[in-house]
Symmetry: C2
């Protein structure tokens, strides 16, 4: 079961403030728990239902301080998911160090003020599909360890390094080091025609206002997704996917 | 204001059953109302706040049976949006006739059992970006006129013809008429290498089970999005966007 102390702990971690203070976050649902167990992340406790037995058994050599069976009802009461018949874990937020430009992969992403947790989680999942290792978030972005973000990643949170940084400072540094800083915009180089051998960081702007003026000033180049119909815009996660598909294939 | 009769009507239209019976649906929020006014759809009534005055004035030649000013509070109470400080309209569901194969555009979409309203709305928005005119939904798909779908379309519902059909029957007919029936799958022809001059319908499967066995049997070809990283899958709307981008550019 889940005692009162743990129940309070878990509910606290639904709030950003508590996550920051205790440097921990929660992971819920079968797919995410399975990916968590497969990862090197430090699991402080894991509450699970009988439906997770076979998976727990597979990872019985893992060191987990608190490992307790509980009910779907208690998982639902304490977590953020509307239904959860598998498990809920409390996990340490991993420490990441910002990569030097020489350690960057060919493509990285930067998000400037992306506010929607579902969008952020989906972008992590896309990054994971395209083998992107590092995502840089501006300070104004939604918290990458919010339960709704983690839920949308479908396990990608275990593989992507998320860095919440002063975006202007970092991108300025990378630009000096000859990394191409690209920005998605409504007007720019057609992404179907874009070619480059340079390592790049692609900046995606906020849902409502695009890339902020200060970040826009740093860009080497604006890139755009050609439109064939009449929609005014694309959702930021959709645009991220199309851009990644075009850059990675080259 | 919104009287009791209208309040009851509008709330009723949150349910699929009432939408089917009365052949009407609701449209909410500034962007969608603006696109609605620009369209040829028949608006039965429009409740709006002072924030919508300038837009209403622009379309004062439109024939709308009931046009009433109301409050954001009442819009929120009666509609599905968590906040709505602009407007809410009751609109007739347009009659669409299923296009003959000779009338199909180069690319159309078919959705097999897509259940999530947010996904369906986002797919309509993507189709609108790529100039796709017709989307065919299997009978099991979520209702395309649900408020959450309409909200996610960002106006695309005014431009896309959505047909809820017997997918197997229709695709079989189109295939006989030499339309290429393609299906998105985890294994198939690399979408980056796919080339064809044939008109095509791309089938996207359900969030959890992909394309159903019966529909799968009709496909001329399976297509796939190459993976460079470790994510197990992509969200169906994300996959739709990447496939559209690859087929339309050719």
């Amino acid at each position: 079961m889940m005692n009162k102390r743990w129940s309070k702990e878990v509910r606290g971690l639904l709030q950003k403030k508590k996550r920051k203070e205790s440097n921990r976050f929660i992971v819920e649902g079968r797919k995410n728990i399975e990916e968590l167990l497969r990862s090197d992340l430090t699991i402080e406790c894991l509450f699970y239902t009988e439906k997770l037995h076979s998976i727990i058994d597979k990872y019985d050599n893992k060191s987990i301080a608190v490992l307790q069976e509980t009910t779907a009802e208690l998982l639902k009461q304490n977590g953020h998911l509307q239904t959860n018949d598998s498990g809920l874990a409390v996990v340490h937020i991993p420490t990441t160090s910002i990569p030097h430009s020489t350690d960057l992969e060919d493509l990285s992403l930067a998000l400037d003020n992306v506010k929607d947790p579902g969008n952020l989680g989906t972008i992590l999942r896309i990054a994971d599909w395209y083998g992107i290792k590092n995502i840089f978030l501006s300070k104004e972005c939604t918290d990458a360890f919010a339960p709704k973000v983690i839920a949308s990643t479908m396990g990608a949170f275990t593989r992507i390094n998320v860095h919440q940084v002063d975006l202007i400072e970092l991108l300025t540094q990378y630009k000096q080091d000859n990394i191409a800083i690209l920005g998605a915009d409504m007007v720019g180089t057609d992404i179907h025609a874009y070619k480059s051998n340079q390592k790049s960081v692609v900046v995606m702007g906020s849902e409502s206002h695009g890339i902020s003026e200060n970040v826009s000033g740093i860009l080497n180049e604006k890139i755009t997704i050609p439109r064939y119909g009449q929609a005014e815009s694309l959702n930021v996660a959709i645009a991220t996917a199309i851009i990644c598909d075009n850059i990675v294939r080259k």
